[in-house]
Symmetry: D2
């Protein structure tokens, strides 16, 4: 049996394509390390501004959140990617997704090799710089040098010429959509690589990067993007866009034709279509489990509460609500969590609390988990 | 047995309180219609800017998304709530969460009574205007009148004096945190009231409102708020803040001391603490179900794939991946979805596709659902 | 004999005219009360923004410079006339030549009748409001009302609706180019009406108004206007422009076709041409007298220093330089100032000083002035 | 006999001095090449931003007005000297008096030696660069390099690093107040050096530079400066200010204590005091000659019109007005211009015209000028 996903992705490509002579590609990597693609998935292009998300993650990992936040803010600027968007008092770039912030990030990391190594770990293969792209952009770097000198003026970075060089090398890393989807999937998976299981960044770092992608990743179109597509994303002028649905999937699309925002026209359409058809919107109320209480079985002298899905705040709450409204009439009570997928901290705390109180009321409580598991920490 | 939630909320209140003489309160309403609160939950105050989220929803419901979007953009402005933040060409307010956008929204709705009725439906009780607040703010309305006349100049609204009057009445509606939590829970629940089950707005409208709250709800602090708290929210100068975790819960906090953004200082702290302790961040990778494939049972001549949690893209994908890697060796195949909580469109499509292909390969496939259910539409 | 000036003005009109069907006119009034005109000098139109210069003068006369300056700044804004150009902290309009500043000025004056009376004194005839213009602009006053409410918000004015009404009435005063040239000539003449000799404002007020016209009168074109035309000026959207050459002449031109700045296209050309051909540029080094020392006559036992032109700093200096370089060899010294046109304060002080010192050196000094004059205050 | 001017300048210094330990100086150079000074007139300091006025003159002289204007606008920016004040579409600096415009000017001139030579000609002695100032500012040039790279990005200049180096050398030229007063006097004298009589720039260039100094020379304080002081000026962060009264005098003051605008506090006070006491305001209505018609002598068969002062538009007009109002009753008419100081083009044209018309009416007209002069071009 073959997976239907590639065919679906082919459909998306065909529906959005405008010009068959241009390369176009989609790739997905799930947090369970499944990989799918369609179109020119081996076509290589420069990572460009999509690198900003990963460089920001690396800077936080190496310097810590406070040190990075002191130099780079996280507010949407409502401006285009190449605006001189610095705080007028402090010179702090508005966010790491505009060029000023990305050059500051490069300056904080301090070494291109460090970034290249990190990006290669994320992609799962050794990424290389496209010398031609680097050479060409080095010649036209006046705006970036202007930003870098301003940053140096305000004491955000030390060596503006080096920071721009590092940034241009970073942007010239050559990738294909499969690389990008895998890199994005690490963010989706809370910082753990879906393939190797290796943690490449703290979960809090991944959350931080995704949040900034959500508010600042699409430049002056950020609000409309989040409202209509609802997937934290970052575009690059090479025609690529990466998107991340937390806990689910990393996505990458590619097609070179750009709109006024410097964003791939067909790439945007592919993302919109997948978001709509796959129900991927971040604000989709159906995403998390609704209720953990799948069943209540009165079995002679015991009452069994069967929980399923994710045991999070709202689902643990449904158990508590039931216990309060209809206290168990038997002395023995069982919480069956064998069907539960995920247990969050708050879910664990709430069920433990319920157990304590039932026991105070004189009941005996058993937690029934899968063999060998003890997810409520009895 | 009593619920531990109110005690937890009491803890949050105590930990964040600075000044016992000031009123303070928290309330939560889950999508399953559970209500919890702590502190001065009956204390009434003006809804102020928190009304903007609901007025925006009402405008979309009544005029349609296109008509509203033509008049009011959805981009973060990076500015304070009272800035004159209009597009310099068209006069279109940057978003509906700043005053200019909210006055435009009031102008589009066209009647205060219509809004009051909608807000009362959301709260589940008849809300009334605080005459004193309305009278006091009507005297100091010069900035809002300035914005309204500009909007009229650009043809966004017709009658600026009426629109401001409507807006001031809207802001003067008197609520407590329980009202606000319930109103917010309708957004969390995709537009359906958790109590009555009545749909008060389209799911797409709720998604739109939550998206705009995420990028624009906290004014010039929007980026930091989303990164650190990760809950779409809206504050009001009366000291209230509402927050919404899609699919889970509506939250309201209240405490009158304000920061420079006009946002409740203690309210922000309470939201931060709950987000951190309850794992409520929108970018939390653990939120949705990770995998639907709970078990694979080889039972003589049939193979049973037991699915649980939410059947969404990423979870359906885990089933497909298994089928591809290890094709079933029996002729009979069962997909057991009795433990599945939610079935998304894409999940349904993907499992149906898997079934077709297995049948093409010669297998017989059975979908096993709860009695009476047929969630995969066989 | 007839004056050649009207024929010259006719030439200017013909050279600049683009469309004979449109009315066009020029008028000049010198500080010696000579009046010249060409074209449709009796054509009436609304004074519009040209009134701003005179209203500003009236406000200073009535409230004093400090009170006016506290409410209205004098800095060029680099913006178009209808921009919301207020100081972001204080709400103080950038200058009195933009609408915000003019509405603030109207608010400070507090009465339209007071302004109409003042404008009538300047014009030398009773000016009346064009009811149709007033009625039409009252209907479209949203932008001005927006500005006025903002000014009220910042405490710059008290009653925004009244201030805008006053401002619109002021702008609707009906004038022809002869009225405007005469009004402008009062500014040229340091505040004294060239006809009646009546002082209508302090000299310092006239200087203040002309300075603000020079930097702010032509909106976002102020710098280019001063550099290329060099005449403090103010335009109105009715198609008129007034210009003032201090100490010489008030100018008014009219033609209804407007450019993007809302300024008369043909009016600008006429002003440019007259400036170039008549050497009217404010920075023209030839404007003031170069030297007062017309001749030195050694006549037996006395030396006569014949002074002519204006006795100002630079010209008095030329006398002193001569006295120092070549001290008089006779005991009797005469300063003949019968040919001197103007005596400035500094000129008087310097010549008096020279006289004292010569007398200390033993000389006897006589000041020879026209019969009955004693301009050096002996 | 000694001149009283130095004593007056000493008075100004004493009255404005705040701290005797700091150097302070004033110098004046008239268009008649008189030199006066008070205080530490030999104290050397870097010319800094005062060089901008002269560099702008040089650029216009070498490239022509059009080529310079294409690259550098002449509009006040309402911003501080170090703002990034470029047109958002074209990158054209708002004016040549802010750093961006001055760096563009340096780039247009293309060679520091060329500027140093020109500045030395203006000062009348060979000016040298202060190596220490240059070395120190080269280390802190990040903001200027940022501006220069932006200019290069927009194609305003070619080599940003070279342009900044040139600009920093230009700013480090070492001068004293006497040098500056003499340099300023060339602008006052329409481009002709008062000492050598050599023309160093076209009169139109001097007018252009003075106009831009008037609107843009004092940065965000330009409007208030022109209104209160009324002297086109340019300040430098070394503590110097130059001022120019067209046709009269070049002024330089110096004192190192700076205000928030980067302008000498005591320097400003000295300029204000001299302006007020010497009647130097550009808008002073008393500056030019009021009337050329000093006398009308009926002498038997001839009428002699005695003209004096400057023969400009307004003064020639007074002659024409008299001829029209009271036509001469004799056949012979004499225009005695022996006392006339200056004859402008328009004055010449107007008197010539008057003569033609009188002759057409049958009169015989004689122009009586000083021996050997023929200033009306008979």
């Amino acid at each position: 049996m073959r997976s239907p996903v590639p065919e679906y992705l082919d459909e998306v490509l065909s529906a959005c394509a405008k010009d068959d002579s241009e390369p176009a590609a989609i790739a997905l990597t799930t947090v369970d390390d499944a990989h799918h693609g369609a179109g020119d998935v081996e076509h290589r292009f420069a990572i460009q501004s999509m690198s900003k998300a990963f460089a920001y993650a690396l800077a936080i990992e190496r310097l810590g959140w406070d040190a990075v936040h002191e130099k780079i803010d996280v507010e949407p600027s409502g401006e285009a990617f190449n605006e001189i968007s610095l705080d007028s008092q402090t010179g702090r770039p508005h966010n790491p997704m505009i060029n000023a912030g990305a050059i500051a990030t490069a300056g904080l990391i301090g070494s291109f090799d460090t970034f290249a190594e990190f990006a290669s770990q994320l992609a799962g293969r050794e990424l290389e710089m496209d010398d031609e792209v680097y050479a060409s952009e080095s010649k036209e770097a006046h705006r970036n040098l202007a930003l870098a000198h301003l940053l140096a003026h305000y004491g955000i970075i030390d060596d503006p010429v080096e920071a721009v060089d590092h940034y241009l090398r970073q942007c010239a890393l050559s990738v294909d959509v499969r690389d990008l989807a895998t890199m994005a999937s690490v963010l989706a998976n809370g910082g753990v690589h879906p393939d190797s299981g290796e943690r490449l960044m703290a979960e809090r770092t991944a959350i931080q990067v995704l949040s900034v992608m959500a508010t600042c990743g699409m430049y002056d179109d950020a609000g409309d993007w989040l409202a209509s597509v609802g997937i934290p994303a970052k575009s690059g002028v090479s025609g690529g866009i990466i998107g991340v649905l937390p806990g689910q999937v990393g996505i990458a699309v590619f097609s070179p034709g750009l709109d006024d925002h410097g964003t791939s026209i067909m790439g945007v359409e592919m993302m919109r279509r997948m978001s709509a058809e796959m129900g991927m919107h971040l604000m989709n109320p159906g995403r998390p489990s609704r209720s953990a209480l799948a069943d209540v079985l009165e079995d002679g002298d015991e009452t069994v509460y069967v929980l399923s899905g994710d045991l999070m705040f709202s689902s643990a709450e449904s158990l508590l609500a039931r216990l309060i409204a209809h206290p168990p009439e038997t002395e023995r009570v069982v919480f069956d969590i064998t069907r539960v997928t995920e247990v969050s901290d708050v879910g664990r705390r709430m069920v433990a609390e319920a157990r304590d109180r039932l026991e105070q009321d004189g009941a005996s409580v058993e937690i029934r988990d899968n063999d060998g598991d003890d997810r409520l920490g009895q």
